[in-house]
Symmetry: C7
Subunit: 236 residues, 7 copies
Amino acid sequence: MQPGQMAYDRGITVFSPDGRLFQVEYAREAVKKGSTTIGLKYKGGVALIVDKRSNSKLLEPKSTEKIHDIDDFIGCATSGLVADARVLVDEARKNAQVHRVNYGENIGVEMLVKKICDHKQNFTQYGGVRPFGTALLVAGTDDMGAHLYETDPSGALVSYKATGIGSGRPAVMEIFENEYADDMEYEAALLLGLKALNSAIEDKPKVESVEIGVADIGKKFRRLSEEEVSALIEKL
Amino acid sequence: MQPGQMAYDRGITVFSPDGRLFQVEYAREAVKKGSTTIGLKYKGGVALIVDKRSNSKLLEPKSTEKIHDIDDFIGCATSGLVADARVLVDEARKNAQVHRVNYGENIGVEMLVKKICDHKQNFTQYGGVRPFGTALLVAGTDDMGAHLYETDPSGALVSYKATGIGSGRPAVMEIFENEYADDMEYEAALLLGLKALNSAIEDKPKVESVEIGVADIGKKFRRLSEEEVSALIEKL
Amino acid sequence: MQPGQMAYDRGITVFSPDGRLFQVEYAREAVKKGSTTIGLKYKGGVALIVDKRSNSKLLEPKSTEKIHDIDDFIGCATSGLVADARVLVDEARKNAQVHRVNYGENIGVEMLVKKICDHKQNFTQYGGVRPFGTALLVAGTDDMGAHLYETDPSGALVSYKATGIGSGRPAVMEIFENEYADDMEYEAALLLGLKALNSAIEDKPKVESVEIGVADIGKKFRRLSEEEVSALIEKL
Amino acid sequence: MQPGQMAYDRGITVFSPDGRLFQVEYAREAVKKGSTTIGLKYKGGVALIVDKRSNSKLLEPKSTEKIHDIDDFIGCATSGLVADARVLVDEARKNAQVHRVNYGENIGVEMLVKKICDHKQNFTQYGGVRPFGTALLVAGTDDMGAHLYETDPSGALVSYKATGIGSGRPAVMEIFENEYADDMEYEAALLLGLKALNSAIEDKPKVESVEIGVADIGKKFRRLSEEEVSALIEKL
Amino acid sequence: MQPGQMAYDRGITVFSPDGRLFQVEYAREAVKKGSTTIGLKYKGGVALIVDKRSNSKLLEPKSTEKIHDIDDFIGCATSGLVADARVLVDEARKNAQVHRVNYGENIGVEMLVKKICDHKQNFTQYGGVRPFGTALLVAGTDDMGAHLYETDPSGALVSYKATGIGSGRPAVMEIFENEYADDMEYEAALLLGLKALNSAIEDKPKVESVEIGVADIGKKFRRLSEEEVSALIEKL
Amino acid sequence: MQPGQMAYDRGITVFSPDGRLFQVEYAREAVKKGSTTIGLKYKGGVALIVDKRSNSKLLEPKSTEKIHDIDDFIGCATSGLVADARVLVDEARKNAQVHRVNYGENIGVEMLVKKICDHKQNFTQYGGVRPFGTALLVAGTDDMGAHLYETDPSGALVSYKATGIGSGRPAVMEIFENEYADDMEYEAALLLGLKALNSAIEDKPKVESVEIGVADIGKKFRRLSEEEVSALIEKL
Amino acid sequence: MQPGQMAYDRGITVFSPDGRLFQVEYAREAVKKGSTTIGLKYKGGVALIVDKRSNSKLLEPKSTEKIHDIDDFIGCATSGLVADARVLVDEARKNAQVHRVNYGENIGVEMLVKKICDHKQNFTQYGGVRPFGTALLVAGTDDMGAHLYETDPSGALVSYKATGIGSGRPAVMEIFENEYADDMEYEAALLLGLKALNSAIEDKPKVESVEIGVADIGKKFRRLSEEEVSALIEKL
């Protein structure tokens, strides 16, 4: 790091001379250090696959759960600063509940994601705060079908067919670019997701270190049981 | 960058000794890195043409849509920071709705653009914030005819017959200065726009990587269908 | 620029050791780069003459209009940052309307200009903002006759018989000091103004690149038609 | 510490270029200097064990009590800045009371810990404050069983079976990783905890320098009597 | 200016090690650059004499008027930043009007000056603002007789028999110390004032470049007519 | 001044490494430059003696009065920044009036002084302001007898039998330490005070340059007449 | 002081890399420079002993009183910045009165001390202020017996049997560690306290330079009379 760079990297309300927001980019570094988190669509739904390997047997397994319900039909997984993620997930839940109270219906996935991202964007334009050091993969279904969104610390949102965030993203994306196909069947998609995770963590996933959430159109978002995960890993 | 320069480039509330606002200029750099976005008028209307080439097949096509409705008769396209753009588009929509509620009529294009630009200007004069790193092309029709406005991060607005923003602007403007004529017919204008885009991206536009929105006087702002875009590209 | 200087040039709430406000002086530099704008009184009225040469045929002519109505009997022209100017003109219009609503009469020119200048001064004494990077020439008539005011970024106001702002000011002032006379007739005054503009832009004014507004005592402020401008240029 | 580092270590609203929050990390150093505090679960409950050795006979023993009741069924122990800890414990108590008033029931342990951690996270994202320089071990029971949570200055929370904070953490964790087993009996677990403390303070615990709190499912959180502690130490 | 000095000269809320407020002293420099303004008492009244030489014939004479009415019996003249002066004069007028509304009587001269000075002092003790770069000479009459006050940027006020501010102060004060006498007659006093002005501007005052205001006990504050000024200059 | 020192001397909310508040100490320097002000008790009362020598005959004598009434039975004199002193005296008067309105009795001297000092202390602990650069000697009587208080910029208050502030303090204190006795008679005390002033200003006091205020128990605080002062000086 | 240190010692909202709060530590230095203040318990009560030697006979003895009543049964003594101490004592008194009004009973000593310390802690975590540069010894009795608390600038509180603050603390603590015993009789304890003070000030205490306050269980907090102090010193 040169002194020249240091002159722009402080304070989120400052552009660098080439039009970059360093604080936002630094926040993305926090995401890049996060655990690998994968999302991909299949025919009729969308899945989240998370690496929850723990480096200590002293941790409560429940404590390492990394897939969160936001609403009945929407779930999410995060990479980056865990306390920031918790705050964002709470924000998302509150938005979903407020929508239901106001309109008597489930919030659409895109609207929900936009609300989270507007919240994130605010933290990149006003002084006295820092951006959220966390990215979210939001998976859910609504009247428009199944959706998979990735949000980043800038407040940008992108809708993917298949994607990954966290430290394993490069490995995951390479596999998906080569092998992902539209309208994959449920099992084929999840096996591909596990294969991508396998590649990212350079280890075979084990039932206790993988968490999978699925949103099937017309059904509630749910976590796969250990048996379901086991069966998938076996087939892998 | 010399130390001497560094002394003025922080904080939007600071003029440089030669009367420049560096933060606003740096925000313009973010626009110059954005995707190429073109607007041009034709006899009886105005069109927006956007480069939406994606570097990944994993992206949902809908996610890359870059033309946004603001009101029934007004649409816009943006270049620069995408999260900032989303916030500005929402601001514009809110202004349009508030106008309708208050006055029972569609907001005029110029009034709408001025409101967006006043919002932008605020972010260049008051401390604790940064300018918006995004430019908008606003195309629309009202009682006064068809309009095409370009807004920049300073809050300046200019009404063009034909213009382009984003990384391809120099190439686009060169073509338009040479070949654009007042009162071009619809098809001729759109073909010229596509030619300009072609020149900017140094590649032939494909139906899946071009998005076109048109505002015909007396009709609602609408996106061209794939068939319409295809037909135009073919003719190109 | 020496390091010694740099120590006072930031933050508007800081005097330099010799009692100067650098930020205000830097804002004046933004004015000095603006387009040439001329105002001068004649017998029974006052005129504004603006250079609106455009460097692109793609611009809508209306977009480059640089003379603004503030109230029925008051108009203004600006030099400097265009977004700042728009905000100030809106502020001026609001003041004029509020006055009419409160008192049932047109606002006096001097009172209006003072209100604009108080607004400007505020931006030079309180922290967290920057001065307006724009100067206004305000021309108008009221019960006291015809008035021509120049305001600068410090919030100072001066009443002139004839003056110019923007990049051509030195050339304009030289001509006026030598050739301007009290109680010139309408046509003579406008021809002198065009001559001054001619000298400032080092080019002969053309009908499409000159905008002229006049406030005749007892009549509303109005822009000259193309024919009127043409006729004047011809005589020149 | 190099000058290069110094450039990011101030202000909590600033990410370092590699995505770290130095102020949060520095706050963790305050925790690492704190007294050793241990928590571990046993069959049917959870215990907190604290090193309260005093370096002066002039201190009132009560003053050195380091285990605090939060609610009838929840207790906690802290490491780090003692004034910060007191403020957080008060915050926790208030949350527990508000919950009871609002819902007529005891607050769940996880909900309570999340509220504390949201409070902590706020102090890492907004300017004008510093993070809390304290970590909490929260032990309690509710309808879901016995819980042991560790919170850190970032606002992260982790549910452990057995853990330690403060200066002796490395020694404690080494013992637990090797010797802790699920579903240990009450006495075995407490003896293991005392052994870990023994190892951390490199001294045999004495009845007057150890404080133990236990939360048995279905019973209120309570401190062990001197006799109970004595008996345990004897067995050790 | 040495670096050592630079360390205290910013921010009004900072004392220098020797107990000075540099920002206030720098603001006084702005006053020292102002036009020469003189006040002196005579038997039964008090006068203000101002240098209003203009460097351009294009200025409206009225625009250069530098003596302002505050209330029927009080007037003032200023040196320093003109926009700051206008704001202070308005503040003074408001105070005078509020007093009349509240108490049904004219405000006393001392009370008015104290209110202006309290306003000024505030701008030297609270952050986020800068001191007023202007000094006022206030001349007026009330039940206590005729008064002449000088206020400076610190908010200090001094009651003089005769004084001067602005660039010519040293020359003016030298003359007054030598030649001013208590209870001078009206004409003698004004001739002495003009002589002092003469000395300060190193030129003979002309009727168009001198402005004189007088407050005679029991009469309203008024400006001398051109004839009166002419007559005085003639006698000089 | 070394760079090392400069690092703590700014901002009142910063302690130096050795626990000092530099800004408060610098404010005391402003007091040390003030005019010499003396207070001393005598049997049945307390007196204030002030050096009001003026360096110009042009000043109005009244303007240099330096002893202020606060309430019927309390007066004060100040050293340091005069505008700050005026603000503090006003604050004291307001406190005295509010007390009378609320409780229907005169405020006690100690209570009044504490209120002033709390106000002063606030300006040493909260950011965005600077300490008052002024010290007050408050002399008054109440049910508890006669009181003499000295307050300093830190907000500390000390009750003296005899003391001095301002540039002559060292000379004054030396005399008082040697010659002041408890229960001196009125005249003896005042002559001692004048002797101390004499020593401080290295000149014989003259009637026009000395101002004396006395608070006799049971009588209102009052200024001595010129005759009284004259008589005292004669005896000296 | 090295430049490296300087980088963390400003602003209370900043941790140093090793988890320290320099501003709090610097505030403690102000305490260490304070006058020696001693507190110790005896059978049935608790005493405060303060060094109030004065370096000037001109001070009013009452002014140097350093033991303050907070409530009927609670008193305190302070070391450090005297203006800060006064503010804290007032805060404590207000808390005691509010408690009585709200609950109709005397506030408990611990609750009172916690409230003071919460107030102090706030000044170490929020920006724009500085910590209190003062420590308090609070002595009092309530239903739980006699209590002696020491509070420091961080907001930490410790309950002691015997302790000292201020410049003499090291000497005092050495004596107490060696000679203090639980349940000392009243006289023995006070003689030990005086001996400790003797050692700290390296001089024999005199009746006029020692102030003693005692809180006997069931009796109000009171200052010892001169006779009582005399008798104790004699026995010493």
